[in-house]
């Protein structure tokens, strides 16, 4: 066990690049990020405003990379980063931030605050200040292959169940398939209906696809805890499997951060461009719709709304696809206030859901989502992230709200024309 403050400070020093320096020097202390963050708006506690969460990184930048800070350091005037500070900041950096990136949207000088919090986690993690829940999830991801400890036999059993129920074979380890589907552990364990839905839709559309037994896990705990080395290892497993099967496209499933991890951070983590494309499942389904390969025979009549998963909509840009798909299948679709790229986070992303210590605040900040839902009173909520889905179900129960959660992929499969 070798986490130490020195390692943490060293990691923070590595994280300060010209982008970070420019961000810190251009911050005008306006405080607009506060009102964009549900952890601030729902608690009213000023220490939870986004820019304050990056204080450890800011201190390193100031004392190591600015003239005044360096002079101050000589005279012992510059504030130091020590274990006391990091202990205090643990709950701000991990429990009170879902890396949803809403703060980055409103910053008038264009600072990507979410990115800076992600970078701050790099220092926190190796200084031994990451939450236990996330360390556990990361350890399982690296050693077992899944943050929830799901092993291959579990997937194989679920595949068998799905095959029995649909009577269709699920292609496994098929070389040269066009698409390679990744799954999140949550989908394997909690929502196997997702696998069934994809199987039905792809079968009907005549899509050539496969699941790899060597890399089926889409999630990336390394990104959530903030250790790029481990995150890169997890990405590399997918890259190796995709290259081995020579697939053209890797599909990220209904999971927010998995999509961000493989599509946007992935090539940067492994240090070279992928030989395949990465698409979110909704992007693939929308392409099928545009090609006329996704036919619907019945429609949803109940009042539906769409919860935008932060990493898919705001940070991922997949905003119009779900709406085009919903347009095809839903008669009564209503948008929540603050929708699309300005949607409010469910409160459990960015590793918060793996961190039991954050349960209380996670449920408290759900009030923001509750207000959004109260404004339109939907019959059901559609989303495209298993993590959002689990958290919404949990929190809705906590608030005694009886609104079912639907997966968009599964809903489309239910209405598929024969």
């Amino acid at each position: 066990m070798s986490a130490s403050l020195e390692k943490g400070i060293h990691a923070l020093k590595e994280q300060v690049d010209s982008t970070v320096a420019a961000f810190f020097s251009s911050c005008v202390h306006c405080g607009m990020c506060a009102d964009a963050c549900l952890f601030y708006t729902e608690t009213g506690e000023p220490e939870r405003m986004p820019i304050n969460k990056v204080e450890p990184l800011r201190r390193i930048w100031k004392s190591e990379y600015t003239l005044l800070g360096r002079i101050g350091k000589l005279f012992g005037l510059t504030k130091k980063v020590d274990d006391k500070l990091l202990t205090e900041w643990e709950t701000l950096v991990y429990d009170s931030c879902t890396l949803c990136g809403r703060c980055s949207m409103v910053c008038p000088v264009g600072n990507d605050i979410a990115l800076m919090i992600r970078k701050t986690r790099e220092g926190m993690a190796v200084a031994g200040h990451a939450p236990e829940g996330l360390i556990g999830a990361t350890t399982r991801a690296i050693t077992i292959g899944s943050p929830m400890g799901v092993k291959l036999p579990a997937l194989q059993a679920q595949i068998r169940h799905v095959e029995e129920s649909t009577g269709k074979t699920i292609p496994v380890d098929v070389e040269g398939a066009e698409y390679m589907l990744l799954l999140s552990s949550m989908e394997i364990m909690n929502f196997p209906e997702f696998i069934e839905a994809v199987s039905k839709i792809f079968d009907r559309a005549g899509v050539s696809w496969t699941i790899s037994t060597e890399a089926f896990e889409a999630t990336n705990s390394g990104i959530q805890i903030g250790v790029s080395d481990l995150a890169a290892e997890l990405v590399q497993r997918i890259v190796d499997a995709a290259e081995k099967l020579k697939v053209k496209t890797v599909i990220s499933p209904e999971c927010g951060h998995a999509y961000m991890a493989i599509r946007w951070e992935g090539p940067n983590l492994v240090g070279k461009p992928f030989s395949f494309k990465v698409r979110h499942i909704l992007e693939v389904l929308n392409e099928l719709r545009e090609q006329g390969k996704l036919e619907i025979s019945s429609r949803e009549t109940q009042k539906l709304t769409y919860h935008d998963p932060c990493q898919i909509s705001r940070r991922g840009g997949v905003i119009n696809e779900p709406r085009s798909l919903l347009d095809m299948v839903a008669d009564n679709f209503v948008e929540m206030p603050d929708t699309g790229k300005m949607n409010w986070c469910c409160g459990a992303g960015g590793g918060v859901s793996s961190n039991e210590r954050a349960d209380e605040i996670r449920l408290k900040v759900f009030q923001r989502k509750k207000e959004q839902l109260d404004a339109i009173k939907p019959d059901a909520i559609v989303s495209a992230c298993s993590n959002c889905r689990l958290n919404l179900e949990d929190a809705l129960e906590e608030y005694n709200m009886d609104i079912p959660l639907l997966s968009l992929t599964e809903m489309l499969a239910d209405h598929l024309a024969d």
Binding site: M1, S2, A3, S4, K7, H10, A11, K13, E14, V16, D17, A21, E64, Y65, L67, A125, V126, G128, A130, I135, T138, T139, I142, T143, I225, V227, S228, D229, L230
Partner: protein, 368 residues
Amino acid sequence: MSDRKNTAQADLTLGEVLRKRGISRRSFLKFCAATASMMAMPPSMVPAIAAALEKARRPSVIWLSFQECTGCTESLTRSHSTTIESLIFDHISLDYHHTLQAAAGTHAEAARIASMEENFGKYLLIVDGSIPMGNPGYSTIAGVSNHDMLMETAKGAAAVIAVGTCAAYGGIPHADPNPTGAVSVGDLIKDKPIINVPGCPPIPVVITGVLTHFLTFGELPELDHIGRPMAFYGKSIHDRCYRRPFYDKGLFAETFDDEGAKKGWCLYKLGCKGPTTYNACATTKWNDGTSFPIEAGHPCLGCSEPDFWDGGGFYKALSMPTENITQNIIYAAAGAAAAGVAVGALNRAKKSKAQATHQKVKLEDLNK
């Protein structure tokens, strides 16, 4: 049918158009009087203005937008409620304006060509935005470079009005290091009368004033040494500023939140460029005469002056040298720049060192 209707509309005089819009003779004369006083003309001129405006046919106006932000158009079209200024502005025949015209693509360009041919030698050309000379591809409209479109359109213009600091003096695109090689209208057109109406953006009433003058007298108003109408740009902001008495008494706000700032003292020490800026803000004000920057507590930026963006910091008092710096200061600046480079190199070295000594993080590194 629709053509005939348009022609009929075009044949109406301004007086007829205004009456059709329900503008009374009284308010019309009030506008003429206001314009006369604003442009420092004797009261005896008011009937002359009224008579001339009454009879004026709608002049054809072609508006070209080059490297600009549309702020000038925004300013000039924001006439709070329907005012006579805006009506006059509405009832010039604005034949071509990227932002405001309904036509698009080839139709838009056809409208420009048609208007140029019909009104050759008579139309007014209004330009906002600077013209990039570095590479014609930096800004094109319908595949035509800004330079070519300006030169082509200026040929038949009676006069050219450069609206906004970009068109008048190059403005922000022209600011150091001027990556697009931006130049002003006056840098390119030498054979036509040019009126500069600078400001970032300019005050709406200034352009209606210039138009009124043109309609009344058929000629351009008196201009200062850098092509601005004297009537609006004849006095500095400082000379007309309501905070001037505090300057004279030596009462200055030192910071934005001190007693002086609260008491409305002079903003000179906070970098106000009022003393070197010539514009009508202090008298005509903004937002329908509501206020202007200094009244809102902020120093003047000097936006109607050439090179205002390169004149040193907005918050540096004018007595600090902002240009023509002496040799010593050049040395000091070079020294500071060298120090900056050295600090930058040091920072890079520190970061490279941090990265070079990176130890791959393993699972055990997560626990103490």
